[in-house]
Every structure is written in C-alpha cells, then in structure tokens.
C-alpha cells in the first residue's frame, strides 16, 4: 500500500504539473480527488488493513491528499495568473484615452478670475453697476467738465433717452459710494464702451477692472503698494512697474502704470491708470447723498483701472483683439479649465 501511495503521488503531481489549462486541471482534480478519484479509491482499501497499519497508512493518505490539493491549488493559481497576465498583455496601451471632450473657460474669464482672487487676498470685495449709465454717474460725478471731449457723440454711445453706455467702469465707484458709507474697498470687473472703429487692436466694447479704496488716512504709498503687490502676484515677482505722472479728472495726483514682465513678452506696456481720489469727486458724492460721509478732510482714497483685453492678447499670444469675441473653438479650446 505504501508503494501504491507513493506511485499515486508521483503520478498525480506530474499530471498536475503537466495540466496546461483550467480544463485539464479540473480533470486532474476530479481524477485524483473526486468521489471516485484515485485517492478516494486508495482510501477504500484502508478497510482491509490491520488495526496497527491503519493509522500509519491513514497518515500517509492524508499527506497524499494534502500534497495533491496543494499542488492543484498552486497550479490553479499559476494558471489564473498566467491567464490574467495574458489578458492584460493583449491590451494595446498605446491607444489614446477616450475621455469625454474637455470644455474650456474663456481667457478673459481666466484673467478676470486671477485678478479677482489676488485682490480678494488684499481684502477687496466685488462691486458692480449697470452698463447703461447716466451722464452724471459716468462723467459729472467724476469731475469731468461739461464740455470734455470724451462726452461727445464721436466717442461715446448714447441711448435715445440721453443715457449712455459707460465709457469706463469708474461709474461703479460712484454707485458704490452713493450706496455705502466709507470704508469702501472694492474691485469691479465689467464691460465699457467707446466708439472706436473695430480693428485688430480696438474693440468698441472692452473689459476693464476698476478698484477703489476709501478710508481715513489712505495715502499714495498705499496705492503704490497695492498696485505693486497686484501686478507682481499676477505676472511674477520680477515684474517691473513704472508710475508716470498723468492727468485724469477724477484723481489727483494721477499716474499711468507701465509694466514690464516676462509673461508679457519682456516689453514695457502701458497698462493702467490710477491716482488719489480727487476731493471734487467726494464733494459731488456728498451732495448727491445729502450728507458728508465722504468729507475729504476726514477720508481719502485711491482708485485704479485697467483694461484686460490687451493683457489677454499678450498672455494668449493673439495679435488680433477680435479673436477675443469671435468664439473660434480652435482658439477657445486651448484654455481647458
């Protein structure tokens, strides 16, 4: 019997080793371990053995069963792993991925948003106002003389009722001060309009960002620091910023801001206007409010404004500003969000 057991072990283990697929392995399992399999048949023979032999042979038989089971399981594992590996190996991973089409955000949106997030770090809130404005909000309140050339029909769009399309977002300064007492710390992204002939560098409608801070003791040094912080955040710490004295009716002193940054092609670029709010603007706001909340002896402020379209042109590398309104998907799809 012992010899039989040993013969069966050799036979079974070699059959298992030779099984080349799951079907052959299953056959081997039935042949050796099934109800009528070889191991079971040998176990039947136990009955004919003596009392003394029985435990010895029983132990050997159990060892045989365990060895065959282990070999079967091991082989099964190996075959499964090989089949899994083969299945994976057949996949051509060099094929492109198949995600749904990606959308995109307009470059002006991305630019406005970067600007907004930077100013929010400085504690500015957003303000807004209508595109259709009164002449008072757009010009008079901003200390613009009644016969200022910007008011004429060649430069400004008028509605039949005498109102106009705001020529700058500065009218939002006025609306915010009329609605709220100081302190005011706002930015206002929005559209503005000028009667420019549309060409590669001009649109009749453009996107601006306005800023205003009014509180006791606000100084030109604060304006300088805020502008420098903003543009260095936007274009990198190496950004050079130049303030040139200028003239605007609604600020005094007034400056134009030139920038030079790698992100903008490394050339000086005239970008923004800013200055300390002219006391005449505060006086006009007070008059309209009917109080003296904006007493120029008690509060001061700075304001700034800049156009975003030319910046967007520079940052996106387009040479024709009309690209920003034509919604050409070949252009838009570059700006995946």
């Amino acid at each position: 019997m012992e010899t039989q057991i040993e013969q069966l072990r050799v036979e079974a283990l070699s059959a298992i080793a030779e099984a080349s697929d799951a079907v052959a392995l299953k056959e081997a399992r039935v042949r050796y371990l099934g109800k009528t399999g070889s191991v079971s048949l040998l176990s039947e023979g136990m009955r004919t053995l003596s009392k003394e032999e029985r435990p010895v042979m029983g132990k050997l038989l159990n060892e045989l069963r365990a060895a065959v089971t282990a070999a079967l399981d091991e082989k099964e594992g190996a075959l499964t792993a090989a089949a899994d590996a083969a299945a994976l190996a057949s996949i051509d991973t060099s094929l492109p991925g198949t995600a749904p089409e990606a959308g995109s955000l307009h470059p002006l949106t991305l630019l406005v948003d970067r600007a907004v997030q930077i100013f929010r770090r400085l504690g500015f809130a957003i303000a807004d106002g209508p595109d259709i404005e009164t002449e008072w909000h757009c010009f008079d309140a901003l200390n613009t003389p009644a016969d200022h050339p910007a008011r004429n029909e060649q430069d400004t769009f008028y509605l039949p009722d005498g109102r106009l399309l705001r020529t700058h977002t500065s009218s939002i300064q006025i609306r915010t001060m009329l609605a709220n007492p100081p302190p005011i710390r706002i930015i206002a992204p929005g559209a503005a309009y000028r009667r420019d002939e549309v060409d590669a560098t001009h649109l009749a409608q453009f996107t601006q960002m306005e800023g205003l801070y009014v509180a006791p003791g606000v100084s030109l040094a604060d304006l300088k620091g805020t502008i420098e912080f903003f543009f260095r955040e936007l274009f990198g710490p190496g950004t050079e910023i130049r303030f040139r004295p200028h003239f605007f009716p609604f600020t005094e002193p007034s400056y134009e801001i030139d920038l030079r940054a790698e992100a903008l092609g490394g050339k000086w670029m005239e970008l923004a206007g800013c200055g300390m709010v002219d006391p005449a603007v505060f006086e006009e706001v007070n008059k309209q409010r009917g109080d003296s909340a904006y007493d120029p002896e008690k509060v001061s402020g700075f304001a700034f404004g800049f156009g975003l379209d030319r910046l967007a042109m520079n940052l996106t590398g387009v040479s024709d500003i009309r690209m920003l309104t034509e919604n050409d998907l070949r252009f838009l799809s570059r700006f995946t969000a």
């Binding site: 809130a125 016969d147 302190p183 559209a191 604060d222």
Partner: protein, 789 residues
Amino acid sequence: MKISLSWLRDYLRTDKPASEIARILTDAGLEVGAIESNGVAIPKVVAAQILESVQHPNADRLSVCKVDDGSGTPRQIVCGAKNYKIGDKVPLAQPGAVMPGDFKIKVGKLRGVESEGMMCSSKELGLGEGADGLLILSPDTTIGTPLSELFPAEEVFEIEITPNRPDWLGHLGVAREAAAFNCGELIASSPALPSTKKDASVAAIAAPEAASFYSIRRIDGVKVGPSPEWLRKRLESVGLRSINNIVDVTNFVMFETAQPLHAFDATKIEGALTVRFTNEGEAFTALDGKKHKLSSNDPVIADARGAQAVAGITGGTASGVSETTTSVLLESAVFTPTVIRRSSRALGISTDSSYRFERGVDAQGALAASARAAALIVEIAGGTPASELIVAGSLPALRTVPLRGDRVRSLLGITIDDAAIAALLAKLGIKQVVGGFEIPSWRNDLTREVDLIEEVARLYGINSIVATCSGIPAPSSEADKAYDFARGLRRRLSGSGFHEARSGTLTGSRDQASYATGGIVTVRNPMGEEHSTLRASLIPGLLEAVSRNLRHGVEAIRLFEIGKVYRQEQPEESTRLGLVITGRTALENWRGEPERSVDLFDLKGVIARLGNPLDPITFRPATHASLPLALEILMGGKPAGILGVLSPAATREVMVGGNQGQIVVAELDLAAIQASSGTGFSKDPKSFGAIPKFPAVRRDLALLLDAATPYSLIEQTALGAKEELLSSITPFDIFSDPEGVKVLLGKKSLAVALTFQLADRTLTTEEVNEAVARIVTRLRETAGAEIRG
C-alpha cells in the same frame, strides 16, 4: 505735440543726451512717445576721400581702399560696396564710432585684411533708406568734416501733453519743466514790455464771456517775404509749413510760448477790432479758404465791416497778411476756453491756436508773447512797432493757494518737512508767500491745495515713496456671491465639455427679435446697423459662433456664455446663461461606438443637473416663435428660461454648407438658478434624509401605451399615489414600430424600472409584489397602460 530738441536747447542749458531728457520729461508727466531723429548725431563719423581701391585678396566681393579722413595718415578700409570711384568723398566711421543699433566700430581684420573703420551708406547712418551702396558726398565737401555738421541732427520728441498742462504746448514751458526736474538750467529771457493803453477805437471787448484780455500792436513798414532759413527749419521741425515771415513769426512765438497770436493786414481793417459774438448766419471765409456760416455762439474779431477772424480759432482771408501787406495789427489775447471749444467743435475747425485757447493760455504771457513777436518781426521783416500796446479787458492778478504740510504728508504717505515742500515747489516757480503759495501765471491748473500736493508728489518722485500695502478688508458683497456662483457654474459647464464663449453686447436688431421678448434697447449713434442694439438674448451670438465654427469644420459644438442682456422693461439689465449644442455627441474614437447627433434631451439633461437636487428643475411644453420644439424651464416652480430646438429653416441658415443635425439652444436667468441653488448645504440638514441602509429592490415593467401618452403621465401616476415603498421610476427603453409589427401602429412600448426601498427595513418579496400590482392597476386605469409579455 512735437518738441524739437535743438529748439528746446534755446531755453535749456543741458549736456544730457536726447534719451535722458526724454526719460526725465516722461517721469515728470510729459510722456515722450517717440524720438524722431533726422540727421547724424554720431561722433567719429567724418567725410573722407577714397584714394585707391584694390581687390581683396581673399574675398571676391570685397575691396581694400585707402582713404584720407583728414587725419594726415591714410586709413585702410575693407569695403563691400561697388558704387564709388576713386576720388569720391564718402562718410567714414572711425574706430570708436557707435552706429545705430549699438554697433561699435573697431580696428579689425576682415577675411585676413585689416580694416580701420567703415565707409557708410545712408541707411547705416540712420539717414533713411537712400540708394544702395555708400553715401556719396558732394565733391566740395571738406575732408575731415564731421557728418553731424553736414547732416545736423534734428531730434524731435513726440510728447503726449495732458489737457491740464497747456503751458507745455510751447518749447519754453517744456524747458521750464525740464529745468525743474534737474535736467538742466533754464535760459530765461524777458523781453521789454511796451507800455499799454486802452483805446476802444482800436481794440475792444464787447463779449466779456469770450475774452478777458485783448491787445493789438500796430507795426508799420514791414516787408513781407520768405522767412530766413533758421525760422523755416524751426517750424518744419515741429511739422509746420513756412508761409511768410510775418505769419511764421506768429507761429514761432506760439510754439515757443504756447500763446497763439494773429496778424491782420492793417489796411484791410476798418475801425476798432472788437471781440463779440456774431450775428446768426454771418458768412465768413477762413484762412483755409473754406466758407463758414457762423452762429450766435461763435466769438469773432470784427471790424466795422464784420467778422475778420473767428476769435482764437482762425483768421479770415479778407484781412490776412499777404505779399502786399505793409502794416500789420498783431493780436495777442486771452480767450475763454469753453467758448473757444464750443465754437471750434460747432464749426468743425481745429487749429493749433484753438487747441491752445481751449486749454487755457498764460494770461500774463499774452503781453510777453506780443512783445517777443514784435521784436522778431522788426528783426526779419523790418518795420516800426507802435510805442504802445492797445489793450482791452484786463490781466488777472496772481493767485495764492494755501497748503498744509500735514495734508501733504498724510495724502502722500511720506515724511517731509515744510521747508522741503517749499523748496520743491520753488523749482516750479511756485513761491511761498503769506497765506500759501503764489502760483505762476502759466499754471492755470493750480487752484486747490490738492493741485499743489500733486506737484509735490511729482517733484518728490513716486519712486522715492516707500510702498505700503494695508487696508481695512471689506465684507463680501452680493456681487461677490453672484460672481462666485457664476464662477462655479462656468467651471461645472467647462468640466462637462462646454466651451465658454464671449460675444459683443452690441449687435444687429434683426437677430435679436427672434429670441427676445419685450422692447429692444437701441443705440442712438451706433457704429453701423450691425452694432445698433444691445443684445436682448445670448442665443443669436451663440448661433453666430456655431456658424463660424461649423465653417471651420468643427463636428461637435458645445458652447455656453454667461453675460448681460438688455431690454426696455425692468430689470433693464440681467445676467443670463446661454447654451447651444449641435453635431455629434462625442468625439470620434477607436472603440467604434455608434455615433449619434445631439438632440433636445442632451441639453435637457445638462440643464436638469444645474438645479438643486432638493428642488429639482422642471420643464413644461411651451410655444416659442422661433423654437418649434420648446420647453419652459421652471425653478422652484417659477419660469427661469427656455430650452428648444431651432426650426429647420433657422438651422439651415446657421449651417451654411449643408451640415446635418439639430441645433439645440437654451437660455436661463442666472439669478433664478442662483436663487434655487443655495450653498450646497441645506438650511435644514434633515431634509436630505438618512442615507438608506437597507437594500433596494428593482422591478422592470414593460408597458404598452398609446403613442401620444406622455412619459410624465406614467411617472406622475406611479409616484403620485403615495406608494410608500416606491422610491423612484426610470424609463430605460422606448420603442414603436412604424410597420406595426412588433408594436401595433399608434402604440408604443415603454420599459420602466421601479425602485423600491425603505429606510428602516429590508423589503419582503410579497410586499413588493403587492405594490407593483397596485401600480400596474393605476397605470392601466389612469394611463391606459397594458403590461407587455
């Protein structure tokens, strides 16, 4: 405004080069946009004569010349040009010369032969394109003469002058500013002023609103003729044309002092010259020969016969200086800016004179300019000026403006003592006096304390100000919330494959009417019909984008835009979300999955997902003039927008070029979406309900319905009957057979999945069966549904 550097140097002693002067002026607020340079300003470029020329031993195209540059020793120069002959005189850049483009000339070997300089073409000298090859100089040129003498450099600044600084509209004013900013020393000259006399028979002001001061100086015995060379060059350098010596002097003095002058032919004037407003309809022929009909708003200088000049704007042909003129009446006046501006605009005449009067002239300067012009006329045209200047009106006294040092320090954020402030202002001729600072007559712009603070800031220099960055943070506003909501929406839409469009708000009226209700807002002075209205809907702009992209061959288009629309009713301006889809549902890929064109439901699904899950968006059929298949979008039960498919005709119009498929559009009110959206968290967290712990049971039903029975009826019938166990119903197949074989004609097959679930226990098969039976019964009774197979 052109400022000639050599002219400027008449009033400014400086050794600074043009680029440095430009930088200083720019920092002072006179933005120098460009420096034009005519002539040669390069040292070490001289006239030289070519003595001999032989072929270069190592280069076919080069020759080796010996040239005489007047230094005594001939120089050897390697040259590539061919256009010269022995004996020609040409420009030679000697070693050390720095050519345009920062190209330094050195002694060096060219293909093995030493070259001690470079013979130059006109292009290399910056004298323009010129002919090819070397610039051949005139044979009588003296060898060794610097080219800067042969072609004197005439550097001209193009300066943007801000409207508050009319004093910069003359070279003297610019020199004054440059000197104040340490650019050099002002060369002051004060002409002897004649004595003045009032004589209303010579000069009078009948319209004090139009002029505060008017003066006439008579000069007899002048000889009108061409101007001398220096005067012509000065005028040409700033873009003026020489006319005759008298007119040229008035222009010269204007570009020197910023005070416009006018000269009348004295023999053509009858009686007093009077500043008055015209009679309505008075005819006038300006110096340019054009006839104008004047209105009662136009100020004129009139004599006994009528208008001889439009005050401060233009003279007239009748009384202008001509070759036969022997006596002139030289006018120097102070006209009121607003009056001049109004008249200039109304007449459509803008001149160098009106440009200056519109901005305001130096009141005291009118006298000096008159004296300066009279002296120059005598110098170049002869004649004898009257000993007295006949004046009308008066010159204003100098103004004093108070200034507090504390105010300067707090507004600028700098530390500076009062004496230093006064010292800075003194550089501009602003003198400290009792009660403040006395403003020079040419600074009409300085009337308030803040105006002086600005001057301190300019002189102190913003570069010297230490930047600070502090402030009181503002609480977030409603606009912040709207911005953040739109920002999130934009990101969600772009994340689901939509590209963001931005279209102009000014558009043609024709497109608007189709997709908007209510009155369209029009522009009174549009830039053409295509931009004559403010958009009332985002859809036309999106359709234009679709059309453009289809022409480019794009096969799948998903666009959205968030922007304002405008209408005559309140709210006049509102922000909308516009969406458009057309073409294929997905990009082509290697899986070979069946392609499909988009339809209404693709966009309906996108919109349904915009809503708040606790308050889902609903839709109801709507009629729309331009969308034959249209649904009204409801949020919180209230109308929030429209969704629909373009009519075939409208589709064809967009799809030029025979593309296939539908165009689906939608437009929603952004505020309505925002209002129904909340913050993502519920005000009442319990309203979300518990997360179900017990398994759900799904049962599918195949229903046979009348083709016209809407799905919504099935859904409402199933869900509406307070069937406690039923948690949702989802359609998963709809089928009808046009042959009437698989499904009878007029019928359709609808398969729905019913999901049953309870929060507190596992359902039994029996109770689900009973619920399904009840639902089936109701569907049969209410919707005429039969159960299939």
